[in-house]
C-alpha cells in the first residue's frame, strides 16, 4: 500500500513539475516582451522596469524558472514602488497590474468557486444517479426514452447558451429569481440559495446528463450479472438484492468519476462564472487572460492542474479502498 501511494506521489510531482515548466515556457518564450505583457494597460516605464527586476526577466530562462519554482516552496520577496512585499510560500506570484499578491487574489475567490462547484456537484450526482436508476428500471419504457432525449439535449446545449436562456426566462421574463450575485450564506441563506440556483443548474445540467447515461448503463449491466441471479435464487428480499447486489457494484465506478469531475471544477468553472459575473477563480482566469496578467494566468493554470492531479490520485486510492479485488490482490 505504501509503495502504491509513494509511486503515485512521485508521478504526481513529476506531472506537476512538467505542467509548471510547460506553462512557464509558453508564456515566457512565446510572448515577445513578457515585461510589457505583464504590465498590461496603463503601463508606465517605471513599472516595466520593476517587473524586469523583480522577475529577473533579463536572466536566462532556467534561472527565471527555478526562481519561480523556488518561490513556490520557500516564498519570495518582491520590490514594489520601493517597498518590499513578502510573498509567503507557496508564492504564486505578484500581479503588477492589480498590485496584489496572486495568492491573495485566489484565496479570496476560492469560496465562491467552491460554492458553485459543490452545489452543482450535489445536484448532478443526485439527479443523474436517480434518473439513471429510474431509466434502468423502466428500461425501454416511456420514462427511459424521456430521459434519453432529455440527456441528449442537455449534453448538446452549450452552458453559456443555457445560462443566458435560463437567465432570460427566470430573471427577466418571470422575475422569479434575482440576477445571480455572490451572496454569502452567512448573510442570508435564503437569498444565497436563490442566487446560486441558476449557476448550479447551468453547471450541473451537462454533467447530470452524462451521469444519467452512465448510471443507467451500469445498472442495466449489473442486473445481468450472475451474482444478482444468485441473490434472487436465495430468496432475498428485493430491497437487499437491489442495494447490495445491484446498486453497490453499479454505482461504485461512478463515485470515482465523480471525484475527478469535482476536482476538475475546483480550478474554477470558467464559463459559468464568467456568464453570471461571479467572482470565482474561473472568472479570475478569464479576466486575467483578457488583461494578459501573466502571473495570475500561470498561477490559476498551476492550481487547476494541481487539483486535477490530486483528484486523480485520491480517486485511484479510493478505488483501492472500495474494490476488494484491487485491495487484496487476486490470489488463487
Amino acid at each position: 500500500m505504501i509503495r502504491i501511494v509513494g509511486s503515485r506521489l512521485l508521478g504526481m510531482l513529476v506531472v506537476l513539475f512538467l505542467v509548471t515548466l510547460f506553462t512557464y515556457a509558453i508564456f515566457f518564450l512565446l510572448s515577445a516582451d513578457p515585461a510589457v505583457q505583464i504590465c498590461g494597460k496603463n503601463c508606465t516605464p517605471e513599472r516595466i522596469e520593476q517587473i524586469r527586476l523583480n522577475l529577473g526577466l533579463d536572466q536566462p530562462f532556467w534561472t527565471q524558472f527555478w526562481g519561480y519554482v523556488g518561490g513556490l516552496f520557500t516564498g519570495r520577496t518582491f520590490t514594489v514602488a520601493g517597498a518590499a512585499v513578502e510573498c509567503a510560500a507557496p508564492c504564486l506570484g505578484y500581479s503588477f497590474q492589480t498590485s496584489q499578491l496572486v495568492g491573495d487574489m485566489i484565496v479570496q475567490r476560492l469560496p465562491i468557486t467552491a460554492t458553485i462547484a459543490v452545489g452543482a456537484a450535489v445536484l448532478w450526482l443526485l439527479g443523474g444517479v436517480v434518473a439513471g436508476v429510474l431509466s434502468a428500471v423502466k428500461e425501454g419504457r416511456f420514462l427511459d426514452r424521456f430521459f434519453a432525449g432529455l440527456t441528449l439535449g442537455s449534453m448538446s446545449i452549450p452552458n453559456y447558451v443555457l445560462a443566458l436562456a435560463l437567465q432570460f426566462i427566470f430573471v427577466v421574463a418571470l422575475g422569479w429569481l434575482p440576477f445571480p450575485q455572490a451572496v454569502k450564506f452567512t448573510d442570508d441563506p435564503g437569498q444565497w440559495f436563490l442566487n446560486f440556483i441558476l449557476p448550479w443548474v447551468v453547471l450541473a445540467v451537462g454533467y447530470a446528463a452524462v451521469y444519467t447515461r452512465l448510471t443507467r448503463a451500469n445498472v442495466i449491466d449489473t442486473l445481468q450479472e450472475n451474482f444478482v441471479r444468485t441473490a434472487r435464487a436465495k430468496g432475498l428480499q428485493p430491497g437487499l438484492v437491489w442495494r447490495r447486489h445491484a446498486l453497490r457494484p453499479a454505482l461504485t465506478p461512478i463515485v470515482t468519476i465523480f471525484g475527478m469531475d469535482v476536482a476538475g471544477l475546483l480550478g474554477g468553472a470558467v464559463i459559468t462564472e464568467t456568464v453570471f459575473g461571479l467572482n470565482g477563480v474561473g472568472k479570475l482566469t478569464a479576466d486575467s487572460i483578457t488583461a494578459n496578467d501573466q502571473p495570475v494566468i500561470m498561477a490559476v493554470t498551476l492550481l487547476s492542474a494541481f487539483f486535477v492531479i490530486i483528484g486523480n490520485m485520491v480517486v485511484d486510492l479510493l478505488y483501492t479502498a472500495i474494490d476488494p479485488r484491487v485491495r487484496t490482490g487476486a490470489s488463487a
Binding site: F227, T230, A233, K234, G235, L240, R244, A330
Partner: protein
Amino acid sequence: MSESTSTPGAVSGEGSGPLLSVRDLTVSFRTAQGPTSVVKNLEFDVPRGGALGIVGESGSGKSMTSLAILGLLPKGGTATGSVRFDGAELIGMSEREKRRVRGDRIAMIFQDPLSSLNPYYKVGTQIAEAYLSHRSGVSRKQARTVAIEAMERVHIRDAARRVDHYPHQFSGGMRQRIMIAMALSMEPDLIIADEPTTALDVTVQAQILDLLDEIRTETGAGLILITHDLAVVSEVTDQIVVMRAGETVERGAVEQVFSDPQADYTRRLLDAVPRIDDAIGVLRTTAITVPDNGRSAR
C-alpha cells in the same frame, strides 16, 4: 393448472408423495418471430432424498427447467404446467411465497462460481445472507456461526478465518464449495445444481461430485443435477431425464438408460463418451444436431 397454494410447510419426510413433481412443464419465450418453447411438456418426479439427473446439450432447455421451477425465468419467459413441491403448486404462486421457498427450501447452485458470487462482499456475508433473510430474530453472530459451519461442512479448511475473505481470494474449486455452502446453510429439502462442475478442472470435478453425494446422503435432501456430461450423471444420480431441444427424449433409472438406451439420440450420446475399455482405435464422433428452435433469434 391448479391454483392451490397450500403454504409450504416443513417437509413431512414420511414418504408422502414425491418431493418434487413436474407435470407438463412448458417454458416459452416471446421472440421477434413469435413465441418459442424452450421446454415442452416436461415430466419427472424427484423422490424425497432422491437424485435426478437432467442431461442434454446446450440449448436443450435443461437450465431453463431449473429456472422455471424457482420462478427465475429471464424477461419474456413464462412457465405453464405444474410443478408441485412438497404438495404446493409453484407455478402461479405469488412472488412473495416463491421468495420464501427460494434459498430456504429449494437451493440452487450455478455453473460459474466466480461470476455467481458478488465480488464486493465477503464470502461469509454472502453465505449468511440467506439465513438472515429467511429466519427472523437471529443475530449476525449466529448467522456468522452458521456460515462458518457451512464452510466446514464443505471441507474448507480454516473456515473461521476464511469466512472474511472475498471470492477472488479462493480457487475455482473452493468457490464452488462456497456456493454449495451457501445452498446448504439453509438446510434445503431440494438442491438444484446447474452444471456445477463444468467450469472446474477434472480433478476438482470429482471432489465436488463426491461432496454433493455426501451432502445428499447426510441431509436427506433431494438433488437435481443438470449437466451435459454423462460421466458426471452416472456418478451421482439414480434417475435421469434426457432432453433435446426442449423435449424429453428418454427417462428412467440411470443404470437402465445407460445399459439399454431406448432412444436413438441417447444411444448416440452414450457412444460419444470415450470409454476406457473401448478398443483402441478412432474415437467415434457423431454429428449430433440440435434443431434451431428459434435460439438464434433470442
